[in-house]
Symmetry: C2
Subunit: 319 residues, 2 copies
């Protein structure tokens, strides 16, 4: 009755999401320590930094120093985030270390686009056209569409599947206009509005409309439902998830102080492994890295699992 | 494809679970304040205290004063917990206020029975026979079987569905011996070993063996999977859940310091309401009570939702 995947791809975003929101300052060496430790857990995709304006996100003023400083592990894709040509150029200076592909990032909520980007949806589409052209002019393929607020919005309320589809159509039109082959649609629950049935509906309608696309989920645990939403996504066959070790992060722009971060990578791994879905991650090692993350940020992280310990350790003791 | 229930019954155990584990002391008046506030949220079942040995659980030395002190709300069932004839007699002194029925409480893990109760499984069955006779002699019907460690055990490791079935058969034999009609089987994930597929398997096998019984789930969020497990249970048609406001609680006997408490009532309510499953609970009111619980215990509770706020408030603002 379900489309459970055999394995999933996890995109670890703890360094990028976590360090952008921490009041910090977190020493660059500590950021590097976390990135290098994550690569030893079996994770294959690590988003290592954000090339953003340091006046807007002071936590990433040391993006260059962080990327220059870590020793990459073969087989691991290190990625970064940027929102404009300037950010892209900063990333391209590290072509040798970073896996660089372009995204079209749009928001299913006009109200959030205005609040977060100070643009109308139409203006945002225009900005995405410009960014796509910039990617192409730098020889970077645009392969992914990311939809923010795909499940609801603090400023606009519920978002319907039809709104998500229409937003995606706008993004696909840009990709087509510029001859780019999109390979993945990422649906983000930016402000924690998703619930299992909503995940089923949105993923189901997006998959029906674009059956050839891979679908990824970027879930936040704002209201505690992230693992239930991941469970719903897995049952729909979703095989790519963004997550953060320890549950680092939270959206600094969503108008909710104290809101929880992303779905915890280690809880996602536990969920999958206990369902027979392969992640490639050594959970005990990852839990150690979650504890390291907690030590680095200097406060308790939302992950329950890093505090309780894995089942594996208890299984071995009981055996 | 699913057996989603139309509505669920929530048994709120925040006062009992929460106050037994807090290093406290929590003033009796504060316990009463929480119990009375919970009754105003639409919850119909509130476990108000534990009649246990105050030397073992000092947090419930004021069980009598708490029960004597609160003003009951018509239509709400207030319950209590006890483990022996002495506890039952203390509860019976409040027959007018408490909804008193008996349970047979057994553990699917022999190792946990020894650790937690200092008894073998056979000795525990003997104790349950004695307790059942005591209930009957006081005119109290035994209507429920509770299985501890039904999904796994820190001391014994994985628990198979066959072990759960066999444990339940032992308990049903006691009920039959004493002519008691069991109406509900409660499966407890005492130490946080459940994952969605395990929930499906155990609930499925128990339901096949005793199709006439109602099944309830008592979930702990020890490793962060409680809402995913509740989601799996709902899909199997489970319509009774124990939970605690704010995620109060945690098992003091499971050998895990810092382990999270029960599934949060407000996150369970959010999960259900967003899936169209009726709970009868006013979520905004419940969130206020969760914040009150946090204020009473004097530390941050695991609930994400009480920190983020309900969707309802944002929906009204966006409308």
């Amino acid at each position: 009755m379900t489309d459970l995947p055999i394995s999933i791809d996890i995109h670890e975003e703890g360094p990028r999401e976590g360090f952008q929101i921490e009041p910090g300052p977190i020493p660059t060496a500590e950021k590097i320590r976390l990135i290098e430790a994550l690569a030893e857990t079996g994770l294959h995709h690590i988003q290592a930094c954000s090339f953003v304006n340091p006046r807007v996100v002071p936590g990433w003023a040391d993006a260059e120093a962080t990327i220059a400083g870590f020793t990459p592990k073969p087989g691991v894709h290190y990625t970064a985030l940027w929102f404009n040509g300037n950010g892209l150029e900063r990333a391209l200076a590290f072509r040798d270390k970073l896996h660089i592909t372009g995204s079209i990032s749009i928001t299913a909520s006009e109200a959030f686009t205005r609040k977060n980007l100070n643009r109308s949806h139409a203006e945002n589409l225009e900005a995405m056209r410009k960014l796509t052209a910039t990617h192409i002019s730098h020889g970077v393929a645009v392969t992914r569409i990311g939809v923010q607020a795909a499940f609801g919005c603090n400023y606009q309320g519920d978002i319907t599947p039809a709104q998500v589809i229409s937003t995606l159509e706008d993004a696909f039109a840009i990709a087509q206009e510029y001859g780019q082959q999109i390979q993945r649609i990422s649906l983000a629950d930016t402000m924690g509005w998703a619930a299992p049935q909503r995940v089923e509906r949105v993923v189901g309608e997006v998959r029906s409309r674009w059956p050839e696309q891979k679908i990824g989920l970027h879930l936040h645990d704002t209201r505690g439902l992230a693992v239930a939403n991941a469970h719903a996504g897995l049952r729909m066959g979703v095989a790519q998830f963004d997550s953060t070790v320890g549950g680092l992060g939270g959206c600094p722009f969503a108008g909710q102080k104290g809101a929880a971060g992303n779905i915890c990578t280690e809880e996602l791994v536990l969920l999958c492994e206990e369902m027979g879905i392969h992640t490639g991650v050594d959970l005990d090692r990852l839990i150690e890295v979650g504890r390291m993350a907690e030590e680095i940020v200097g406060h308790v992280l939302p992950s329950e699992l890093i505090h309780a310990g894995s089942l594996g350790a208890f299984r071995r003791r009981a055996a």
